[in-house]
Symmetry: C2
Subunit: 185 residues, 2 copies
DNA sequence: AAATCTTGTTGATAATTGTCAAGAAATCAC
DNA sequence: GTGATTTCTTGACAATTATCAACAAGATTT
């Protein structure tokens, strides 16, 4: 399981960690286009993707804005709600048939209460996720649409094969027309 | 100490927490315009502001882009470096005379190794910081310069009294001229 | 397979924002 | 306080990006 492979070094020397964590990960499969979480409800699930691709999005008036993609070995959830236990502004959707490991908030909370030494893993995971987000803010702050396109293309070329262009456009913060024009060069 | 006042509820029932944490917080004072951390070096310090205001910024070619402000009871550091222990792309600067509590990476790491039950606090702190960043990405993704200005003005009106307009402009991802025009309406 | 619906492309135009330049205002240094 | 420096404002213009509309291409339904 690759999510562990990438992050297990964070937990070197903590015994029983892998087994305990795997015990709360439930295998699940969703058909393409399934809504895994609806905005306005509280999100209890955190997803680690085994295969397929999903997205997190929200609505601004009628517009649907993608704020996160997750493919193999990446993670997704309605983070505001999962963390703050309040109604979410985000929706979570399967863009392809999705195989995931699902972790329930309550199972995780329980695991961490029983094994406080596992807190460290989650903290380190959050910290790395935070640095990634901070990077993306810098990107949105100062780069042009064209530069942001190039950066995403370099970082996640598979997105352009697998995901509708309109979702990539909103993720980049531009209109579908602008993305189409950028691509035709 | 307000940083604790705001977040202490996260640690209800963990005894010795407040004392232990305070033992690694060193009081420090910096004159206005001090560079607390230089880009390109590893950042060992995390700052909790008691009084004054600071910013975190980076360079894109010759341009100086502010990515974070921190005023009373808020925190700042060169987060990429503090977390990943590698050279930072961020600088940290005092925009006013600054009183802070400084926490060294090594003291914090040490405290957490000795008291793993404190990991929980740092994790929860990171999670809340993460949700805040995610919100800011949504803001940058879909709002116009004018909307972003209104949102910041509502959220942090004191910035406009205390910080140079050019820093606010780069924080909003716009040119100083555009900010000036937005303000004159 | 035809019909329908969604998505992507292209053109024309408008709105937003950036850049450059000059002057005014504010701040800093001595 | 005076002069020097930096910052802010304003105008003119250019570049970027959005919007609207029409059509083409693909996908989905029946």
């Amino acid at each position: 399981m690759n999510f562990f492979e990438e992050n297990i070094h964070l937990m070197e020397g903590i015994s029983g960690f892998e087994e305990a964590f795997q015990s709360i990960m439930k295998y699940k499969k969703f058909p393409k286009n399934t809504i895994l979480h609806e905005a306005g409800t509280i999100c209890d699930d955190f997803y680690i993707i085994i295969s397929g691709i999903g997205r997190v999005f929200f609505y601004k008036e009628d517009k649907d804005i993608t704020c996160h993609f997750a493919a193999e070995n990446e993670t997704m959830t309605a983070i505001d709600s999962f963390i703050q236990r309040k109604k979410s502004k985000y929706c979570v959707e399967a863009l392809e048939e999705l195989e995931v490991f699902k972790i329930s908030y309550f199972d995780l909370e329980n695991l961490l209460l029983i094994n406080p030494e596992f807190e460290r893993f989650v903290r380190l995971f959050m910290q790395h996720a935070y640095v990634e987000l901070a990077d993306r803010i810098g990107d949105l702050q100062l780069n042009t649409a064209h530069e942001r396109y190039e950066i995403l293309l370099k970082k996640s070329p598979y997105l352009f094969q697998r995901v509708a262009a309109k979702h990539i456009a909103s993720f980049l913060g531009i209109s579908p027309e602008t993305l189409s024009r950028i691509r035709s060069k």
